[in-house]
């Protein structure tokens, strides 16, 4: 399959089940809601070392938030419910509770619930106040700028992590420009995040390493400088490869995001140095979710 | 009115009768010799049935201020157990703290014909007697509570001689209509008022400078010298405290051979071994009981479920208040006499402590050799309501059943007890000793608890059911003073029992001291404090039975 001169590889991205939730951080104004959300989602690029993958889904208008203030919706994913709960709790405790004027709410219902502010309440040292409003429990925790309001629980939903595609271009600059274009479009899609810095990752990995201590290492088949040293997957014209990784609440959401992302890359086309779109997989044996690029773009 | 009970298997330990088939003759409420002349007004065929005297509960909280506090504090206890009025019975309610009428009906339906309230505060004696007066069918009586009353402690602080103390004790017993003397946490209730929160056997009351050991000796001696049959009834120091086993043994040894009844011994038999720092001391305690023939005990068995603990021991109740379930409790000071504490409590079979308490009680039953010196109580309602006695009897008589229950309890507690290795099973004869003959002897009831000629015709007839719980829950017949009050486990007649008292002699000169004391410190005058016989018997429903003093009493004015 070729779109606008860009070859779509007959391959698939392989993704894994994750547990995820959406939380809403509000604040006195959009600026402070965003500051808190950025801190909350910081150092959350990959579960491998961060324990979770998190990102900002979108900014929320006051009419969309529970308390009628500016807010930010954040998605956070982890491999299991327990790990997710731990990450949400420590991040909420260090990055939201601490952030001036903030409030913290659940942004999603789930059959299973987990603690959101449930344990943060103990920061109140006995002065915390519980309020049941419309069947949901909130905690009011006295802090130095007033009260920190947090919902007690948030829903946990089964999600998908690790959707991806690779952009193969003739130069670094062209690969980067294409990824930026893709991310701009993908951010408009609800229920997904691209957890890496700016949404783009340059250090794609393969499973295994020559070093025993490591279970993943650089994806040498896609490293342009190794074209002559390894069993390369790159043609001579390709000088740079970048990847976009997508986590979402469902497979369909990731489908959608990949489609608009790949389309944006292809719109730049061969004339802007884009040669191929490929994807990362492990042979299809590890992850139950397969995103076939040609099916998505069909 | 002459009645014959024909062919029952008689268990009458007072006369050494163990399951012999005999006929019993009753005339006008008394057991009589086989009459030669007349024909019977009534003959009841009890062939194959088990016949015993009516059972006697020698320690049950059925009257007095604290029971009323429990009733007031626990409406849920009432709402969950409502008894509707019938043609015969009046309505009532309450599981742990039943209303007076219901308590009487339930006792009778279990074959009990007497119950003794063990903690009558002198100043509250009228109230206690009025409540017991309202408790139908069963006989009753009470032990008057001394030992934390300011008058006695003043006498002791002033080093008054034993004579004076005897006089005070006798005077109090007479005018509060008691049959015994009880001491609760000797001096501790008083010390609590001086902000002491614990009091060991040899620890001095901060104000009076007297120790529990001295109080026990003085009172035990008074009871002995006055010729009161019921030995000093002692609720010891450090109730419920892990490690109180040493105090308890010390108390037994320290009484210098005087008769002493140690009540709800289970709560006083705790060691501090093991990971939980709470262990069974029943083996040591039982050994001491077996050794000291002057000591009698009742167990105060706990059984699992919701109940309420009502005690004069406000010091220990105050310490226990964090365990109140549901979370409400009362501790109060009662004039110059004592205090009380009432705490609802739920014994849980999956609690290590509660499970071990259950085992400690049963171990004590099984390891004390002489059934004449150990009595079956749950310290109603503190360990469990009295309605659980049949269940307790089954635990004692049926090892398989006991071990089945045991295997369901907190696993760590099971490991901490050797109950499973105790093979003893009580016999019907031994049960009859514990609940009839022994109890009557202990309380000092000359004409109760036996089936000999001249005895009151308080008789219970059971079907010999191998399920002892069923057997003792629903007797076939219960006779109270010759009247059939229960048939097939159901009440068919409501009669009114008597109030048993003793009247030890005293020297009236004690009133010269007491009158000004009442005037100055009490809320009522001495004249009003004294309960007259009329107050109990005037309406024709109640009556007073004066039981004889022991021969050789020191005083004969």
């Amino acid at each position: 399959m070729i779109i606008n001169g860009v070859t779509i590889d007959p391959t698939f991205a392989e993704a894994f089940p994750m547990k995820g939730t959406r939380i809403i951080i509000t604040a006195h104004n959009a600026k402070w809601a965003m500051i808190s959300a950025q801190a909350f989602t910081g150092f959350a690029t990959s579960v491998i070392a961060c324990g979770c993958e998190a990102g900002i889904e979108r900014e929320l208008d006051p009419s969309e938030t529970p308390d009628g203030r500016h807010g930010v919706a954040v998605l956070i994913f982890a491999m299991g419910g327990k790990g997710l709960a731990k990450q949400v709790e420590t991040r909420a405790g260090q990055c939201v509770l601490t952030s001036p004027t903030s409030a913290l709410f659940s942004g999603i219902d789930g059959e299973i619930e987990m603690a959101l502010g449930q344990n943060l309440r103990f920061f109140g040292d006995g002065f915390q106040i519980s309020k049941m409003i419309d069947g949901k429990r909130y905690w009011r925790i006295p802090v130095m700028d007033g009260e920190f309001l947090t919902q007690e629980k948030t829903g946990v939903v089964s999600s998908v992590g690790g959707g991806n595609f690779l952009v193969l271009a003739e130069s670094q600059a062209q690969a980067l420009a294409a990824c930026e274009a893709a991310i701009e479009q993908m951010r408009k899609i609800p229920n997904v995040i691209m957890p890496f810095p700016g949404g783009v990752v340059r250090s794609g990995s393969k499973v295994g390493s020559k070093y025993k201590a490591l279970n993943a290492s650089t994806n040498d088949a896609f490293c342009p400088t190794l074209k002559g040293q390894t069993n390369s997957d790159l043609s001579p014209e390709v000088e740079s490869v970048m990847e976009i990784v997508i986590d979402g609440l469902s497979k369909e959401d990731i489908d959608k995001a990949m489609r608009v992302g790949i389309q944006a890359v292809c719109d730049l086309g061969a004339e802007n140095g884009i040669r191929r779109i490929s994807a990362g997989n492990y042979g299809g044996k590890l992850g139950p979710f397969h995103f076939h690029l040609q099916e998505i773009m069909a | 009115m002459l009645m014959k009970l024909t062919g029952g298997k008689i268990y009458d330990p007072a006369h050494g009768i163990d399951g012999e088939v005999r006929d019993i003759y009753v005339r006008d409420g008394r057991i009589v010799e086989r009459p030669t002349d007349v024909k019977f007004d009534q003959e009841i065929d009890v062939r194959g049935k088990v016949v015993m005297a009516g059972a006697i509960d020698m320690h049950t909280h059925i009257g007095g201020g604290k029971v009323n506090i429990a009733r007031t504090m626990l409406p849920e206890d009432h709402a969950a157990d409502v008894v509707a009025r019938t043609e015969l019975m009046r309505s009532g309610c309450g599981h742990a703290a039943p209303s007076t009428l219901t308590a009487g009906y339930r006792y009778a339906e279990m074959g009990y014909t007497a119950g003794f309230e063990p903690a009558i505060l002198p100043i509250n004696a009228r109230q206690a007697h009025m409540e017991m007066h309202d408790t139908p069918i069963i006989d009753k009586g009470g032990y008057v509570m001394l030992g934390s009353d300011d008058f006695l402690l003043r006498m002791m602080a002033a080093n008054n001689d034993q004579e004076a103390i005897n006089n005070y004790v006798a005077w109090t017993m007479n005018h509060s209509h008691a049959i015994g003397v009880k001491v609760v946490n000797p001096g501790g209730i008083n010390a609590f008022k001086f902000n002491q929160r614990k009091l060991d056997l040899d620890e001095k009351n901060h104000y009076y400078g007297v120790t529990p050991r001295e109080i026990l000796l003085r009172l035990a001696r008074a009871v002995k010298e006055l010729g009161v049959p019921h030995p000093l009834h002692v609720h010891g120091c450090n109730l419920g405290v892990p490690g109180n086993l040493d105090t308890t043994i010390n108390t037994m040894e320290g009484i210098e051979g005087l008769p002493m009844h140690m009540t709800h011994i289970q709560f006083h038999s705790y060691g501090t071994e093991g990971d939980f720092k709470f262990s069974s001391g029943s083996a040591q305690i039982a050994e001491q009981i077996n050794k000291h023939k002057n000591i009698t005990v009742d167990v105060g068995q706990i059984l699992f479920g919701q109940t309420v603990t009502a005690s004069g021991d406000n010091m220990r109740q105050h310490a226990a208040h964090p365990h109140a379930h549901p979370n409400k409790w009362v501790c109060m000071d009662i004039e110059c006499d004592a205090g009380c504490g009432v705490l609802p409590f739920k014994y849980k079979d999956q609690s290590y402590v509660n499970a071990l308490q259950w085992m400690i009680g049963l171990e004590t039953f099984l390891m004390v050799d002489d059934p004449w010196r150990v009595f079956l109580t749950t310290d109603h309602p503190n360990g469990a309501p009295f309605t659980s006695y049949p269940h307790l009897i089954k635990l004692l008589m049926d090892k398989t059943f006991r071990n089945d229950v045991l295997s369901q309890l907190h696993p760590e507690a099971q490991k901490a007890s050797h109950l499973a290795s105790l093979d003893r099973e009580y016999t019907l004869y031994e049960i009859a000793i514990m609940t009839r003959a022994g109890a009557a002897k202990l309380v000092g009831l000359a004409d109760r608890g036996h089936l000999g000629v001249g005895g009151a015709a308080d008789i219970t007839v059971y079907t010999d059911n191998p399920d002892r719980e069923k057997m003792f829950t629903t007797p076939d017949y219960v006779f109270k003073d010759g009247n059939m009050v229960v048939k097939d486990g159901h009440l068919i007649d409501v009669t009114w029992g008597t109030t048993h008292v003793v009247k030890p002699n005293y020297d009236i000169s004690i009133e010269k001291q007491l009158k000004p004391y009442f005037d100055r410190y009490h809320t009522q005058k001495m004249g009003n404090f004294k309960i007259s016989d009329d107050e109990i018997s005037d309406d024709g429903r109640g009556s007073i039975t004066v039981q004889p003093l022991l021969l050789g009493a020191k005083y004969d004015y």
Binding site: D67, G68, K131, M132, Y138, R140 | M73, P326
Partner: protein, 273 residues
């Protein structure tokens, strides 16, 4: 289906109170009109057949109506978990006791202990209530533990006594000892409150739109004026109610008083500023 209607007969006039706890959707499910007519209702120390005191019509047990009601009808909606009960006229004591769902609407006044130990559901009284709304039975530790009570008129004394959770919304005035011994939950009053407001309150919130005419008890300390983030959420939850509270303009600026400081002092009175 038409509403199952119990019309109280005018003659003979009621002498004793009637226990209506048997007349709920839960208790009447699967029962025919004949069965219902035969139900024995406790009155005084005896029982009477339902059809001897009520004219009974209709068939929808999930929609029960009491017509010509009297303040002698007690325990209406006892332990109900579903359905709707409408009362035309006054009703007696313990309306909605132990209620765990469903809906009661009274077009009249209620007696004492309305919503006593209620767990869930909604009670709306288009009139005044007696004392102890949402309270606990004597000796009990917890009053209502959930649900919403709306009172368009005035509430009696000791509203929310021992209340544990849930909401009581009073469009008129509250009587004396409002929120006394309150354990937690929310009481909001649009009118005035009586003497001893929040006496012995432990936790919970009393929300007032005007300063109480009798002032705030000395047992409550002023914590200053604040913007509280939970109030907009609370007002948003009022929006769907059939009540004046749905029209109250949301505010989050309040003067906060904490007490009762004679006890644990974790309760709060919030007064709009």
């Amino acid at each position: 289906m038409s509403a199952l209607t119990f019309t109280l007969k005018t003659a003979p006039a009621l002498v004793q109170r009637i226990d209506c706890s048997a007349l709920t959707s839960d208790a009447l499910a699967e029962k025919s009109l004949k069965d219902i007519a035969e139900i024995e209702l406790q009155t005084g120390n005896t029982t009477v057949r339902a059809d001897s005191v009520f004219d009974i019509s209709g068939d929808d047990v999930n929609n029960i109506v009491f017509v010509n009601s009297s303040d002698k009808l007690d325990f209406v909606g006892h332990s109900m978990t579903t359905g709707k009960i409408t009362v035309e006229g006054n009703v007696g004591a313990y309306t909605g006791i132990f209620m765990d769902g469903g809906n009661i609407e009274v077009n009249g006044d209620t007696g004492i202990y309305t919503a006593c130990e209620m767990k869930s559901g909604q009670i709306k009284i288009n009139g005044n209530t007696g004392d102890f709304v949402g309270g606990a039975r004597p000796g009990r530790k917890n009053g209502m533990t959930g649900g919403t009570v709306i009172i368009t008129g005035n509430s009696g004394d000791r509203t929310g006594d021992h209340m544990r959770r849930g909401m009581i919304l009073i469009e008129g005035n509250a009587g004396d000892y409002c929120a006394a011994r309150m354990v937690s939950g929310t009481i909001a009053v649009l009118g005035d409150t009586g003497a001893h407001l929040a006496y012995a309150m432990k936790r919970g919130t009393v929300l007032l739109t005007q300063t109480p005419s009798r002032g705030i008890s000395a047992n409550f300390n002023d914590c200053g004026s604040h913007t509280l983030a939970f109030l907009p959420l609370l007002f948003a939850s009022f929006a769907k109610l059939d009540s004046k509270f749905a029209q109250v303009e949301s505010f989050s600026r309040v003067q906060r008083y904490a007490g009762d400081l004679a006890g644990i002092g974790m309760g709060e009175i919030l007064v709009k500023i």
